[in-house]
C-alpha cells in the first residue's frame, strides 16, 4: 500500500461521505454545498488519475456552473434556513432497499467479472491530444459530437429562455 493508494481511499471516502451528506441533509443549502464538495472530490480523483484536463473541466463546469446554478435556483425558490420536508418512511425503506439491492447486484457483477488489464500503454490525455481529437473529422476524431453538443447547448439555451421569459414578464407587470 503506497501513498497513491492511501490517497485513493481518502478521496473515495471523501467523495462518498460528502455524497451521502448531500443526499441526506435536510437543509437544502447545505446539501448543495455537500454536493459541491463531492464534485470537487471527483475532480481530485481525476487528478489522482493524472487527468488534469478532465479535473479542470469538472471544476469549471460543475463547480463553477452547475452548482452555482443550483444555488441560484435555491435562492430563487427557498429560504435558506428552511428544513426540507421529510420523506415518508415507506418510501425511504423502498428507496433504500432498491438502492442497496442495485448496489449489491452491480457490485457483485463488477466484482465477479474479471476485467483484463492493459498496462502496457499509458493514456495520453494531454490537452493537446484532446484538442486535436476533438476537432478532427477523420479517424479518432470527435468533431461531429462536438457540433452536435453545440446544437444541444443552443437548444437548451433557447428552452431556458422561453421558459424563463414569463417570469420576466411577471416581474415587469
Amino acid at each position: 500500500m503506497d501513498f497513491k493508494d492511501i490517497f485513493f481511499y481518502l478521496i473515495a471516502i471523501y467523495i462518498l461521505g460528502t455524497g451521502i451528506m448531500a443526499v441526506s441533509t435536510r437543509k437544502i443549502f447545505r446539501a448543495s454545498i455537500w454536493l459541491l464538495f463531492s464534485l470537487i472530490g471527483i475532480a481530485a480523483f481525476y487528478f489522482w488519475l493524472n487527468l488534469e484536463f478532465l479535473a479542470a473541466v469538472q471544476v469549471a463546469v460543475y463547480v463553477g456552473g452547475i452548482v452555482v446554478l443550483i444555488i441560484f435556483s435555491i435562492f430563487l425558490t427557498q429560504k435558506t434556513g428552511n428544513q426540507m420536508a421529510k420523506t415518508g418512511t415507506q418510501q425511504t425503506i423502498f428507496a433504500a432497499l432498491a438502492s442497496l439491492l442495485g448496489f449489491a447486484l452491480t457490485a457483485y457483477l463488477v466484482y465477479q467479472h474479471h476485467f483484463g488489464s492493459n498496462q502496457t500503454q499509458e493514456l495520453d490525455a494531454s490537452i493537446e491530444n484532446i484538442g486535436t481529437q476533438m476537432l478532427n473529422p477523420g479517424d479518432g476524431g470527435f468533431l461531429l459530437p462536438f457540433e452536435a453538443v453545440s446544437m444541444l447547448l443552443l437548444s437548451a439555451l433557447i428552452g431556458c429562455i422561453v421558459i424563463a421569459m414569463k417570469i420576466k414578464k411577471e416581474e415587469t407587470a
Binding site: 467479472h113 461531429l144 453538443v149 437548444s155
Partner: protein, 470 residues
C-alpha cells in the same frame, strides 16, 4: 468527398439551416407574422421529406460515427413528415403562440437529435442524439406556460429522462468496459456473453424502453402527454417514438445480436406487460390525450413482439407500422389539438355527439382510431398484421395469442370513443369548429395515407427492399 458528404448529411444540414434561419433572421424581428414562419418551416420540412428519394450509397463518415444509407434516409424522411404534419395540424395553435419561433427551434433541434440518433454508429454519438432529442422536448413540453399541468409534464419528462439517461450511461459504461469501444460494429463483434454484459444490456435496453414507453419504464408517458401542449404530445408520441424505435431495431439486431437470447426473453416479458398494462390503463382514461398515451403504449407492445421475429421481416414490418402510425396517430392528435385549442375540451365525454356538428373532423378522428385499432381498410390493419406475422416467424405463437387478445381490449376502447362521437347524443354538442385550410390539407393527407398505405402494396415493398441486405 465534399459533395458526397453534403449528400450524406442533407437532412441534418437542411434542419440545421432551418434552425439558423429562424435563429438569425426571425428571432430579432417582431414584425414577422407567425403564419409566414410556419409556412417557411413547412416548406423546408417538405423538402426534407422528399430527400429520401436521393439516396446515397452506404457510407460511414466522421470517425465511423455517422452512418447513412437508403433506409436511414427514408426513416429521416418519415420523421420530417411527422413534424411537417404536426406543424400543419397545429397551425391554429402555433399561429397565436407568441413563441412560435422558439417552438420551432426546439422541435427542429429535437428532430436533428433524432436524425443523429438514427444515423449514429457510435454509442457516444447516439447518446448525444438522444439527449438532443429529449432536452428540447422537455422545454417544449412546458410551452403552455400559464398551465400548471404543462410545467408538471415538463418536470416529469426531464427528471425521468435524466434518470433513465443515467442508467443508460451506466450501461454504456459497462459496455465500454467490456469491449473497449463505442463503435457499434466493434461492440457487436467484441461483446462477450456473460452476466455483466447482460446487465449492461438490460441497462441500455431500459434506456430505449424508457423512450419507447415500454412497461414498466413507461410511467412518465401518460402524465407528460396529458400535460404537454398537443403538438408536443403528438411529437413525443409519434416522431420521438418512431425515431427511437428505428434505432432500437438497429441496435438490437446489429449491436446486441450475440445477446439474442437475452433480448428475446426480455422482450417477451416486457411486451406482454406493455400490451396488457397499456390496454388496461387505456380502457379507463377520461382525458383523450392520456388515453392516446396509453393506447400508444399498447401499440409499442406489438412492435416489441415483432422484434422477436426474424430480422428482415421484423425490420420492415416495424418501419412500415411506424409509417402508418405516423399518419394515424397524427390524424388523431390533429383533431384533438384542434378541439383542445379552440374549445379547450380534452375529455372523452366531451366528444359525445361530436358528429352532430363536425362531420369531417369526426370521420378523420374515427378513421384514425380505426387505423390505430387495426381495422381494414385502413393501413393500421396491415401494419398490425405484419407485426404479428413477423413475431410468428420464429414461432412465438403464445405471444401472438396474447397480442390477439389484447387487440380485442384495445378495440373496446377505440370503439368507445367512436361510440361517443357517432352514437351518443348530447344536449349541447361541440359547436362547429373552424378548420384552417392547411390543417385540413394535413388531415386529408393523413387520411389518404391511412387508406392508401395499406391498399397500395409497393410502399411496403419499398421498405422491405431495405431489409434484404441483413
Amino acid at each position: 468527398m465534399g459533395l458526397e458528404l453534403l449528400f450524406t448529411l442533407k437532412h441534418e444540414l437542411l434542419i440545421s439551416l432551418s434552425i439558423f434561419l429562424l435563429l438569425f433572421i426571425f428571432v430579432g424581428s417582431n414584425h414577422t407574422k407567425g403564419a409566414t414562419i410556419i409556412h417557411i418551416v413547412n416548406a423546408l420540412l417538405l423538402i426534407s421529406v422528399f430527400f429520401f428519394l436521393f439516396e446515397p450509397k452506404q457510407s460511414f463518415v466522421f470517425n465511423q460515427m455517422f452512418e447513412s444509407n437508403g433506409l436511414i434516409q427514408f426513416q429521416k424522411s418519415i420523421l420530417s413528415l411527422g413534424l411537417l404534419l404536426i406543424s400543419a395540424l397545429s397551425f391554429q395553435w402555433l399561429k397565436h403562440h407568441k413563441n412560435v419561433i422558439e417552438f420551432y427551434l426546439l422541435l427542429l433541434s429535437s428532430l436533428l437529435g433524432m436524425f443523429f440518433m438514427i444515423s449514429a454508429a457510435n454509442m457516444l454519438f447516439f447518446y448525444l442524439g438522444l439527449e438532443l432529442a429529449t432536452i428540447p422536448l422537455a422545454a417544449a413540453a412546458n410551452f403552455d406556460l400559464e398551465k400548471r399541468k404543462s410545467g408538471e409534464a415538463a418536470m416529469k419528462l426531464i427528471y425521468s429522462s435524466a434518470f433513465s439517461s443515467a442508467l443508460l450511461l451506466l450501461g454504456i459504461s459497462f459496455v465500454y468496459g467490456l469491449t473497449g469501444s463505442l463503435n457499434f460494429t466493434e461492440i457487436s463483434e467484441k461483446i462477450p456473453v456473460n452476466a455483466l454484459s447482460q446487465f449492461a444490456f438490460i441497462l441500455v435496453f431500459s434506456g430505449f424502453a424508457f423512450k419507447m414507453s415500454v412497461v414498466p419504464f413507461h410511467l412518465w408517458t401518460a402524465d407528460v402527454y396529458e400535460g404537454a401542449p398537443v403538438p408536443v404530445t403528438a411529437f413525443l408520441s409519434v416522431v420521438s417514438k418512431a425515431a427511437i424505435s428505428f434505432v432500437f431495431v438497429q441496435v438490437l439486431f446489429k449491436v446486441f445480436i450475440h445477446l439474442e437470447l437475452s433480448y428475446t426473453i426480455s422482450l417477451a416479458v416486457v411486451s406482454i406487460c406493455t400490451m396488457l398494462l397499456g390496454n388496461l390503463f387505456a380502457m379507463r382514461q377520461e382525458n383523450i390525450k392520456r388515453f392516446l398515451a396509453f393506447s400508444s403504449i399498447a401499440q409499442v407492445g406489438y412492435i416489441l413482439i415483432a422484434l422477436m421475429g426474424s430480422h428482415e421481416v421484423a425490420q420492415s414490418a416495424i418501419i412500415y407500422f411506424l409509417l402508418v402510425y405516423v399518419f394515424s396517430n397524427l390524424a388523431a392528435f390533429g383533431v384533438i389539438g384542434i378541439i383542445s385549442n379552440s374549445l379547450g375540451k380534452e375529455n372523452i365525454s366531451d366528444y359525445k355527439g361530436f358528429y352532430q356538428q363536425n362531420k369531417f373532423l369526426s370521420w378523420a378522428l374515427a378513421i384514425a382510431l380505426f387505423s390505430l385499432a387495426g381495422v381494414p381498410p385502413t393501413a393500421g390493419f396491415f401494419g398490425k398484421f405484419f407485426l404479428i406475422l413477423a413475431a410468428a416467424s420464429k414461432g412465438y405463437y403464445l405471444l401472438i395469442v396474447i397480442a390477439a387478445l389484447n387487440m380485442i381490449i384495445s378495440f373496446y376502447y377505440y370503439l368507445r370513443i367512436v361510440r361517443n362521437i357517432f352514437m351518443e347524443t348530447s344536449e349541447n354538442p361541440m359547436p362547429q369548429v373552424l378548420v384552417q385550410p392547411i390543417t385540413k390539407v394535413a388531415l386529408i393527407v393523413c387520411l389518404i395515407g391511412m387508406i392508401v398505405l395499406g391498399l397500395y402494396g409497393p410502399v411496403y415493398e419499398y421498405i422491405a427492399a431495405f431489409a434484404k441486405p441483413f
